[in-house]
Every structure is written in structure tokens, then in C-alpha cells.
Amino acid sequence: MGNFVLARMAQSLISLIGLVVLVFFLVRLTGSPADLYLPDDASEAARQEYIRIHGLDRPMIVQFWEFFSGLFRLDLGESLRQARPAAQIVLEAYPTSLKLAGLTMLISVIGAVLLGVWAAVRPTGLLDRVISILSLASASAPNFWVALTLISVFAVWLRVVPTSGIGGWEYWILPITVLTLRPLGLLAQVVREAMIRALTAPYVRTAKSKGVPFRSVLFVHALRNASLPILTMAGNQAVGFINGSVVIESIFGFPGVGKLMIDAIQQRDFAVVQAGVVITAVVIFLMNILIDVAYALLDPRIRHK
């Protein structure tokens, strides 16, 4: 397992360097930050002054070297807009996004397994149909629409939860509900499919004929075998949440990394975009290792290869 992790790290380092180079140049293709920062009618002299203050007039290769060498000192540069270290800004925003992502995935996986198994027990039954339709609907409903609708109903009309903002647990109810819908719907579909396949496998028949209680057949034999596709989909979804949820963070005013990144891109705050991408890449890399390890734990065929 140790060698496996090391090999993955070496691979990821190469991709990470490629990514860093790409992001550095791509973000600069969007234009000059001076155009966005200064008043609309600022003079050319003011524009030049801004570019000089922030060292954007230096040759691109010098700027790149400064950024690249900084990476090895864990210095990701200073935000143009906020005048403080970009890494600090990104790391400040990360816990909120990770908490959102973690809770969302936890609820989605548990909910999806229960619903999916439930539906798979009697495929094409009424319950299966209802769950299928609901999970399809929740997987395809646009986040922002659901968010605004839930705010109108539960925060404005019924007044049982806050509209937005961050604070006690009650502030997490709406954002997590909205965020959970899509992965829950998708995962429930995957669980259902995998379980239907597993339940028709010969070992299930064997287990049943041996008199193993149905509950054990369902949750021990079948679910364990169905867990690989579930893990793949859950992993995919979780990785998608790592860089935050722009829509949810923007609507609910959550200080997460998704909103931070969108703002940084729109304001051409290069250092923050770079720091965000680098840190996100590292987190995704760690996530992928975790997922691989989980594969190995779940499936002895992978472990013994």
C-alpha cells in the first residue's frame, strides 16, 4: 500500500506542475486587472501606475519565476484586491466548503443506500417507480432554483429557518438540503442498479437457499458487492464538491472557496486564483488516494493484485 501511495504521489506531482503552469498563463489571458479595479474613466496614467505598483509590468517570465519559486517556499503570493497572502485567504475559506461537502456526501450516501436498496428489493414495483422519479427529479433540478424556492417557503413563508448566512446548525439546513439533492438522486439510481444486479447473482441465490436471513443477504452480501460502483460515483461527486459550490455559497452567503474562486476570477485576482487551484489540486489528490484506498479495502481482488 505504501508503494502504491508513493507512486500516485509522483504521478500527481507531474500533473500538478503542469496545472500550475497552465493556470498561471491562462488566468493572465483574461486581461488586465487594472481594467476591472480602476474606475471606468481612469486615465491611462492611472492604469500604468496600478500595473507598476503590482509588478504586472515586469516580463512575464520574471513574474512566472517569482510565482513558481514561491511555491517551494509555500508562498502563493499576495492578493491584488485584499492586500494579504492569497494562501491565507483560500485556507480561511476551505473549512466551510469542506464541512458543506462532507455533510452533504454523508447524508447523500446514507440516504441513497437506503432509498436505492429499498427500490431494488422489488424492481418496477410502485415504490421503485416513486423513488426513481423522485431521484431523477432531484438529480436534475437546478440548484439555484431549488435554493430560492426553499428560501421563499421555509424562511420567508413558514419562517422556520434563516434565509441565509452562517451561524448555528439551523443555518446549514437549507444549503445542505439543496446540495444533497443532486448527489442523493444520482447515487440512489446507481445503488438501485448495482443492487438489482447483485440480487440476481448466483451467490445471493446460494445465500438465500442456505437460509441466511434476507436482511443479511441484502446488507452484507449484495451491498458489499454493489459498493464499488457506488464508491466511484460518490467519489466523483465528492471531488466535484471540493472546490466548493459556487451557487450555494453565493446565494446563502457562505464564506466558502467556490464563491471565493469565482470572485477572484471575475476580479482577475491572479494570486488568489492560483492559490485556489493549487490548494484544490492538492486536496483532490488526497481525496483520490483515499478513494483508491477505499477500493482496495472493499475489494480483495484489487488488494491482492
Binding site: 501606475e49 475559506a93 428489493v121 414495483g125 429557518v161 441565509s164 448566512g165
Partner: protein
């Protein structure tokens, strides 16, 4: 009974009733309701968080409402309802000669950090503002064309020496932030220290900025003890927050939601207009520009694409700005006259059939995309070969500013903020040496130069009114649509008068509890 049967039975038993019970339980108040502002506290919800709150950047629309006059004060206060100046940290001021001004400072004032407010503090504030290694929007915006220095004459008298004559120096100086001498000279600060009625208590990045009442304020103690600024990008969420009492005030709710008794329309000192690209044919011909102006059915835009409260305009300065001309009327909609003008121009060899592109930046303001669509359609209906094109801000600027991009005939949707009380802040763009001037007319240039050099007073106002008339009737490079309104929502706990105020200022000291 099989497990499957048991499960589905359980589902039948529990499914709907459980959900219904949960909703009812929650709605009966079992779950907590959102925090409401405490007594003496108000919550203001803004559309975005300021990236930084350095005093020199209090011209940012996000930073202004928090800092301006609340934390950081200025020597004088510009009253936008009549463009007059009121004493703030200065008690008196006079012009000594063309390039020298003398200000008498208020005594007995201290900064929040305990430093005394005196002439040296003003000198420091001016030097910091003009430190060109530090980005200061307040410098870029008002002192692009000149500089000035400050000198302490005695403890409470400051003399300003200008690099050139500037008749509206007093007005410009009202936009200079006065900061504590302990403010870092070479770096932006995240902890601004001023003399205002409120001190910065907390900035929780991404969450809120909290101001607390300054018990040592030199003026009257305001009613509000604590003001919390929070940030929500979605207009309907801002509106909802005030509606349910989580917030007391927001400067902007979407027009379609501004239907409750809490919503107030106010002039936001922004004027919507189209820049007619007079540097290219056929718009270099006055008759064609007149035809464009007469092809716009401005009345039809009100209450449809623009709020009905929008005031149709004749210049890019609003009616309360010194220099606006009350004798002028907006261009009427006159399709017959458009046809005549275009035929006349065509007969003289003007290429009136050349394609004209109405260029715009996406979602510049509410309804802006629809306005461009309507403009293109109205021009087509009037016989122009018009189309619309969405561009990125860099491309837009390539056409708006000199040196200009490829030769195309363009009309650019634009919006101008004119919240500084004098037409000079707006109309200098029509000077020949401005890189934003669509056309250089020596006669207009001379009129603007004269107005700029005229001292403040009725004569200056008359000079600007004449410039405005000339531009409206004989130049027509701006197709002015109207002076915008925005909608604020004010919660039932407080009273605050938004009229005659710039949305980049929110005077907490004027807020009273009901």
C-alpha cells in the same frame, strides 16, 4: 412475510405521514428561527463584500457605505441634494488665491486610536493619498489631472497648495479621507482608523463587518450602537432578509420585488446613455446623430424595460447637479423627422446604410441587455442598418477610448455616475485632449475650458448650463436615456431617508429606531 414486503409495508405506513408531520412540527416553531438584530443594533445587507477597506478606497461602492463618514470622515461633507458643502472635520475654509486654500480644523477631536486630530494629521492623510506606491481610488478618481500638497500653518490651520488652478477644489477635497497618523504609509490597511462616530470592531472575512459606536465621538451620539454589514449576491435573498427581519436595510432589491411598503425608489446618481461613435461614418454626421436621438421612443421604455420612476434626461448629469439645464426637454420620438434627416444626409453622400453596431457589456445594470435589444430594434424600425453585439469589457474599451479599434460604426451602451455635485466631473470627457471624447469640436472644447475655469457660483452654473444645452442640441454625441432609480428596502424597525444620497454612502448617524 418477506423482508421486501415488510419494507414496502413500512413505507406505506410511514412515507407521507412522516414527511407531513416533520413539516408541521418544524413549522410550529420547534426549529429555531433566524437571529434578529439585537436592540440598538442594525444589520445592513450589501450585494458584495468589499475586497479591502483601506480609507483611500472608500470610493468603492462596497466600501463606501461602511467607511465613509461612519469610520473615516472628511474635512467637509458634500450635500448632494443641492451640491453644497457642510462642515465636518473643518469648521471654515477660504480660497487665498487661485492655487491656495486655507482650512480651519475642528478642535478637540481624536482618532479612534487616541491620536489627536490636527493639521499634521491632515498633512499625513494628504501625503498618504498621493503616495503613488499605494493604490488609492480616491486619488485616481479625483486627482488624476493634478496634485496638491498640505502644510500645517498652526495646530488647527492647514494650507493647501495646488499644482494648478481648480475652481472646484473644495468639492474635490470633500472626497479626501482623513486617516490616523498611525495608518501604515506604504501598505493598504485592513483596520482603518478615523475620527467618525463608529469604529471598526470586527471584520470576519466572507461573513460580516461590524462597526461599534464611538463613545468619544466629537459630535452628537447617534442612536445606533452597533451596525453589522453582511453580504448576499442574490437580490431576492437581500429582499427576503429585510422582509423577515434578519436585516434592516438594503440598498438594492430587484425592481420586480420592490412592491412592498418597505421599498423606496431613489435616484442613485447614475445616468443611462448611449455613446454615439461620432469618429466614424455615418455617425460623424450631425443629422445622423440627431436621427438616432429621435428614433428612440424613450417614453415607451419607462415602466417596461426601465422602472417607471426613471427620469428621462437631457445630459449625463442628473437634475440636482450644478450645471444641469432645466430649460431643456428630452428628445421626442419622431420617426418622420428621422426619415427626413436620413434622406438629407444620404443626398449629401453620407453612407447612412452602413451597419451600426450597438455594443454592450453583459448585465451592466438591471434591464441593460433588454435596453440594448430595444435600442437595436428601434433603430432598425427607423431605417438604420443596426445590430447588437455583446462584448467583453476590454473590447468595449477599445472602441470607447482612443486609440480606437478597427473602423466600425458603433453605439455603446454606457452609464455614468455623477454624484460629485459639479458638471465638471462629468463633462471633461468631451474635451479634445480626453481619450474618451467621441468628437473634437473646438467650439465645445472652449466652452468646457471656460466653464472649468469659472469660480464656483451662479456664473459657473450658467457656463455649464450652456455647455449642456450646446451638447444636447448641436453636438448630440450622447443619446441620453434617463437618470436611473434603484430600490432600497427599509425594515420596520428603523427610519432612514435615502433620497438625495449616493448609494456609496450610508450615514448610520441618520438612522433612527421606530
Amino acid at each position: 412475510m418477506s423482508f421486501a414486503e415488510r419494507i414496502s409495508q413500512m413505507g406505506d405506513r410511514l412515507g407521507t405521514p412522516v414527511l407531513a408531520a416533520a413539516i408541521i412540527a418544524v413549522s410550529m416553531g420547534v426549529a429555531p428561527v433566524a437571529a434578529q438584530p439585537a436592540e440598538g443594533e442594525i444589520v445592513i445587507v450589501q450585494s458584495s463584500e468589499p475586497p479591502n477597506i483601506d480609507p483611500g478606497n472608500f470610493d468603492y461602492s462596497q466600501t463606501g457605505p461602511i467607511l465613509r463618514q461612519n469610520v473615516i470622515e472628511t474635512l467637509t461633507l458634500l450635500d448632494l441634494s443641492d451640491s453644497s458643502l457642510q462642515p465636518r472635520l473643518a469648521t471654515a475654509w477660504e480660497q487665498v488665491d487661485d492655487t491656495t486654500y486655507r482650512y480651519t480644523l475642528r478642535e478637540g477631536v481624536t482618532f479612534h486610536d487616541g491620536a489627536p486630530f490636527n493639521a499634521d494629521a491632515v498633512v499625513y492623510s494628504v501625503e498618504r493619498l498621493f503616495n503613488t506606491d499605494l493604490e488609492q481610488i480616491a486619488r485616481n478618481k479625483y486627482w488624476d489631472h493634478m496634485t496638491f500638497t498640505a502644510e500645517a500653518i498652526d495646530e488647527f490651520t492647514v494650507e493647501f497648495s495646488l499644482s494648478q488652478a481648480e475652481p472646484v477644489f473644495d468639492t474635490r477635497l470633500s472626497q479626501v479621507p482623513i486617516v490616523s497618523p498611525n495608518t501604515p504609509f506604504d501598505a493598504l490597511t485592513r483596520a482603518p482608523v478615523g475620527t467618525g462616530p463608529y469604529t471598526l470592531a470586527e471584520w470576519q472575512a466572507g461573513v460580516q463587518i461590524v462597526l461599534e459606536r464611538n463613545p468619544d465621538y466629537w459630535g452628537d451620539q447617534p442612536e445606533v450602537e452597533r451596525a453589522t454589514f453582511v453580504f448576499r449576491g442574490e437580490g431576492s435573498v437581500r429582499a427576503s432578509m429585510v422582509e423577515v427581519g434578519e436585516a434592516d436595510f438594503t440598498f438594492s432589491v430587484p425592481e420586480e420585488l420592490a412592491t412592498t411598503g418597505m421599498d423606496v425608489a431613489y435616484q442613485n446618481f447614475e445616468t443611462i446613455y448611449f455613446i454615439l461613435g461620432a469618429w466614424e461614418a455615418p455617425l460623424d454626421d450631425l443629422r445622423v446623430r440627431m436621427a438616432v436621438n429621435l428614433a428612440i421612443d424613450r417614453e415607451a421604455l419607462l415602466g417596461t424595460i426601465l422602472p417607471a420612476e426613471t427620469v428621462l434626461g437631457t445630459a449625463i448629469i442628473g437634475p440636482s447637479i450644478s450645471g444641469s439645464n432645466p430649460d431643456l426637454v428630452p428628445h421626442p420620438y419622431d420617426p418622420d423627422r428621422v426619415t427626413e434627416l436620413l434622406e438629407e444626409a444620404r443626398a449629401d453622400g453620407v453612407d447612412v446604410d452602413r451597419e451600426i453596431t450597438v455594443m454592450y457589456i453583459n448585465d451592466r445594470f438591471p434591464g441593460s441587455n433588454e435596453l440594448v435589444e430595444a435600442m437595436a430594434l428601434m433603430l432598425q424600425a427607423a431605417g438604420f442598418n443596426a445590430r447588437m453585439e455583446l462584448v467583453e469589457s476590454g473590447v468595449y474599451r477599445e472602441y470607447r477610448d482612443e486609440p480606437r479599434g478597427e473602423d466600425r460604426a458603433v453605439i455603446l451602451l454606457s452609464r455614468h455616475d455623477n454624484d460629485k455635485g459639479d458638471a465638471g466631473f462629468s463633462l471633461t470627457r468631451h474635451l479634445c485632449d480626453s481619450n474618451r471624447n467621441p468628437i473634437c469640436l473646438p467650439e465645445l472644447d472652449e466652452m468646457i475650458q471656460t466653464a472649468l475655469a469659472t469660480p464656483q457660483g451662479p456664473e459657473r452654473e450658467a457656463a455649464w448650463q450652456e455647455v449642456v444645452r450646446f451638447m444636447h442640441e448641436d453636438v448630440q454625441v450622447d443619446a441620453v436615456i434617463g437618470h436611473q432609480v434603484a430600490f432600497a428596502r427599509i425594515g420596520p424597525r428603523i427610519s432612514y431617508d435615502v433620497s438625495g444620497k449616493n448609494p456609496s454612502t450610508f450615514l448610520i448617524e441618520e438612522v433612527t429606531f421606530n
